[in-house]
């Protein structure tokens, strides 16, 4: 009998024009702990979703086999019943229910299987107590999950996964919410589970954890598995290089417009909030493109929201814009000053999906660059035409619904909205996420052109290649602190990757 428990053979997954996974082969043995590595967008989540039944592979591709039986799961529950448990980054707990209720959610024991199904609280508690003792936790079973700390919730999530006695446990960034001590306990726990015969797929960004917890590693890049090997065959540096890869964008020569003597247009001193930001200070100069590199959850988005005044949390620290201290910041007052933001979540926060491209572009200009009290069609149309042309937005007309455009064209329109309103400083939060390569290059060129024309820019990206290509300086952010500032010339993708990784060791 073979020892292979999970086999993924020739599996592909396509979303519209994007191939998220291409002919992936993946094998897992009983009791093996496999680290799954890759940059954001390399296909890790997609692979996890396929294995856990949240999504189905392309119909013309291969299949997923558990104990050599081909499995096609239509729901996550089906995969769960087959013994595959996932602990996800976004929580699957119900905060109004108790710890015990959450651990056995979906399979609450009944006092007698017939009749009206009275909850067997005793049995429910014993299931919960048993799984919690597996992970050495002693959280009161009747506590409401909504009242627990993030770390405790993470552990309940793991307990919930273990409650079904899984054969395969998938942990997706399980340590991102934990402190050092809790991380150590978790790593020990994973080793114990593996010793008892459970196979584990361990997705993490934290290089330091890999040799301590994993036997083998697989590296995903651009939807392909480029390496599968024993962990002991690699040093941390080698792994980092494998994950980052060579720069696959053609490095176009970009004219740099910035020098450090340029006047400071925006400066931030000791920016703090309660959880994510721990004292951020930096300066943005005129005509500068300032990159921010950092992993998900490092506080990137929070910095921009804190500056722009849309943060829900209380913000401490000082923001000086055009040499004037700005105490009460709201999105309206920032736009009046000439500072605009394009949000990371384009679909929910960026576009007005039911309005046309034209109206999406002109909406912030009304009352700003166009000061007329009444709508002036002609004036607006001219402005819109100018930006559709300048940004090369592929649309049949101004009135075409923005939601019918490609992601890249939507993003260009969202940036166009800020430009049409005459913004002097742009805060761009992941402007190239999920858009095609040619739109990306257009956006890079646009940012550089704007810098030349006198618009400064803060540019957040998960892709080190593009930061390296576009930015005059890059701040490396980790756990809410700036750990390094790298000048544009030195900011190679490898250097940026190494620096971000150092932050999470």
């Amino acid at each position: 009998m073979s020892n292979v428990i999970l086999k993924v053979r020739n599996v592909s997954k396509t979303y519209g024009p994007i191939r998220a996974l291409v002919d992936v082969d993946f094998q897992l043995e009983r009791g093996e702990v496999r680290a799954l590595l890759g940059k954001n967008g390399a296909g890790k989540s997609t692979l996890v979703n396929l294995i856990s039944g949240s999504e189905q592979p392309d119909s013309d591709s291969g299949g997923i086999f558990v104990n050599d039986v081909k499995e096609v799961w239509s729901t996550p529950m089906a995969a769960r019943l087959a013994g595959i448990a996932v602990v996800r980054q976004e929580f699957s707990l119900v905060s109004g229910l108790s710890v015990a209720e959450n651990i056995s959610l979906g399979m609450w024991p009944k006092k007698n299987s017939k009749g009206i199904g009275v909850i067997d609280r005793e049995k429910m508690n014993s299931i919960a107590a048993k799984t919690l003792s597996l992970i050495d936790q002693d959280i009161p079973l009747s506590a409401e999950v909504g009242d627990l700390s993030l770390a405790q919730r993470q552990l309940i999530e793991i307990a919930k996964a273990l409650a079904i006695n899984p054969k395969i446990l998938i942990l997706d960034e399980p340590t991102s919410a934990l402190n050092l001590n809790e991380v150590n306990n978790l790593l020990d726990l994973v080793r114990r589970l593996s010793a008892s015969g459970i196979s584990v797929i361990y997705v993490s960004h934290r290089m330091q954890e890999i040799p301590r917890v994993a036997d083998t590693l697989s590296v995903l890049r651009d939807g392909k598995i480029i390496e599968t090997n024993l962990v002991s065959n690699f040093s941390i540096d080698q792994v980092a290089r494998l994950v980052a890869g060579e720069s696959n964008l053609e490095r176009t020569q970009i004219e740099k417009t910035y020098n450090s003597t340029n006047e400071v247009v925006l400066s931030v001193r000791n920016l703090k909030n309660e959880r994510t930001l721990r004292g951020i200070s930096f300066e943005l100069h005129d005509r500068e493109v300032l990159g921010i590199a950092g992993l998900l959850g490092s506080g990137r988005t929070e910095i921009l929201e804190a500056i722009f005044g849309t943060s829900k949390e209380k913000i401490d620290g000082e923001v000086v814009i055009f040499n004037k201290k700005q105490r009460k910041r709201t999105s309206r007052s920032m736009l009046t000053l000439g500072i605009g933001l394009t949000p990371e979540d384009r679909r929910d926060l960026g576009i007005f999906p039911l309005l046309g491209v034209g109206e999406n572009i002109v909406i912030s200009a009304r009352g700003r660059s166009i000061k007329e009290k009444y709508l002036r069609k002609k004036l607006e149309n001219n402005l819109i035409d100018r930006f559709i042309h300048r940004l090369q937005i592929a649309t049949s007309s101004q009135s075409q619904l923005i939601s019918s455009l490609s992601g890249g064209n939507q993003q260009k329109a969202v940036i166009g909205r800020l430009l049409a309103a005459d913004m002097k400083i742009l805060l761009l939060d992941e402007p190239t996420r999920g858009i095609d390569i040619s739109s990306k290059i257009q956006i890079y060129n646009l940012i550089r052109d704007l810098a030349r024309d006198g618009v400064s820019c803060i540019f957040i990206s998960s892709e080190f290649e593009e930061l390296s290509q576009v930015c005059d300086r890059v701040l490396v952010l980790s756990n809410g602190e700036i750990i390094e500032t790298i000048s544009g010339l030195e900011a190679t993708p490898e250097r940026l990757f190494a620096s971000t990784m150092r932050g999470v060791l």
Binding site: S92, V94, G96, L97, G106, G117, V118, D147, E313
Partner: protein, 330 residues
């Protein structure tokens, strides 16, 4: 909270105090109101009046208990008042015009009311029609049907067909109040003791997590509306008994009282949290207040203003509490 279903709660003391305050505050308000009315309102404390309060409470309380589960599931049902009217009208038509035996007429009403409720739930579960919209449509059309089939006239029913109901009392207690007590215990126990009942809280708290965990979200949604429909049917029968007629004009504004009682009782409009016991306190508060205002001769329009204000206040308190808790946790 005195009505917490699990006595073994071990929370940090600050949470405990805050949570207890909620239930206690409501309980305290009820007692306070009771004392004030005992002193100021003539006849308030007479047993006849108190039994009358209970009967009035039953006419929206029975529905409010089921409505609690609808709101816990993250939904709303604004059609209940019209459904009560159609239940009453239908009873009249079936028994008087179509000569159904009385018991069969009652069964017919229950089948109708449960089915219509289930239909609203099914629209939500199957097509994702927001429950506010589908029940708003029913609010209008059910009342329309009730008036159509009766020609807007109440159909007199033979009071003796209502057994105990002709006197309206059983062992001295209003029959409607007895139904309310039974409905309270049944729905309360169902929601805290049974797997299916507790599942409603999971669906309302995080429907995505419920799906991932293999919970049948659709059946939960259909069920809570069907239950509310059934309770509207019972209420329609009880009101017909009291009026000795099948009346298409009753139940106006009943949805407001039922939903108010649920909100005053501390159930979260966001879903996932709430209790039938809290709703009982809310029902009593509204019934006592309405009765007191009538006894004190408050202008009926002013009464509406007061009731509206109380609901707004209750929502405000619960929102403020939630925000404070959130800040505390983070």
């Amino acid at each position: 909270m005195p009505y917490r279903n699990d006595p073994k709660v071990q929370l940090s003391s600050s949470f405990k105090i805050m949570k207890e305050w909620d239930g206690l505050g409501l309980f305290g308000s009820l007692i306070l109101l009771f004392i004030i009315l005992s002193v100021t309102a003539p006849n308030f404390l007479s047993s006849e009046n108190l039994l009358n309060v209970l009967q009035q409470a039953a006419f929206f309380g029975i529905i409010a208990f089921a409505m609690t589960l609808v709101i816990v599931a993250g939904e709303i049902d604004v059609s209940v008042g019209s459904s009560v009217a159609l239940s009453s009208a239908l009873l009249g038509v079936l028994v008087v015009n179509l000569h159904f035996p009385f018991w069969l007429g009652c069964i017919g009403v229950m089948v109708y009311s449960t089915t219509v409720g289930a239909f609203a739930g099914w629209m939500r579960a199957r097509f994702d029609v927001p429950s506010f919209i589908s029940t708003l449509a029913l609010y209008l059309s059910l009342r329309g049907v009730a008036k159509l089939i009766t020609n807007t006239f109440a159909i007199p029913l033979n009071a003796t067909q209502f057994f105990y109901w002709k006197s309206g009392k059983l062992f001295g207690f209003p029959v409607a109040a007895i139904y309310m007590v039974l409905a309270f215990f049944a729905i309360s126990a169902f929601s805290t003791k049974t797997v299916f009942g507790r599942t409603i809280f999971a669906v309302g708290g995080n429907a995505k997590a419920a799906v991932i965990s293999g919970i049948n979200v659709k059946s939960v949604r259909i069920f809570v509306f069907a239950l509310t429909g059934a309770m509207a049917g019972i209420t329609g029968l009880l009101q017909s008994a009291q009026l000795s007629s099948g009346n298409p004009s009753i139940g106006v504004g009943l949805e407001f009282d039922a939903i108010s009682a649920v909100i005053i009782g501390g159930t979260s409009l966001m879903g996932g949290k709430g209790s039938v016991f809290g709703t009982l306190l809310g029902v009593l508060l509204i019934a006592v207040l309405s009765n007191g205002m009538v006894l004190l001769g408050v202008n009926p329009y002013a009464q509406d203003v007061v009731r509206g204000g109380i609901v707004l206040g209750a929502v405000l308190i619960s929102v403020l509490r939630r925000n404070r808790m959130k800040r505390k946790v983070s």
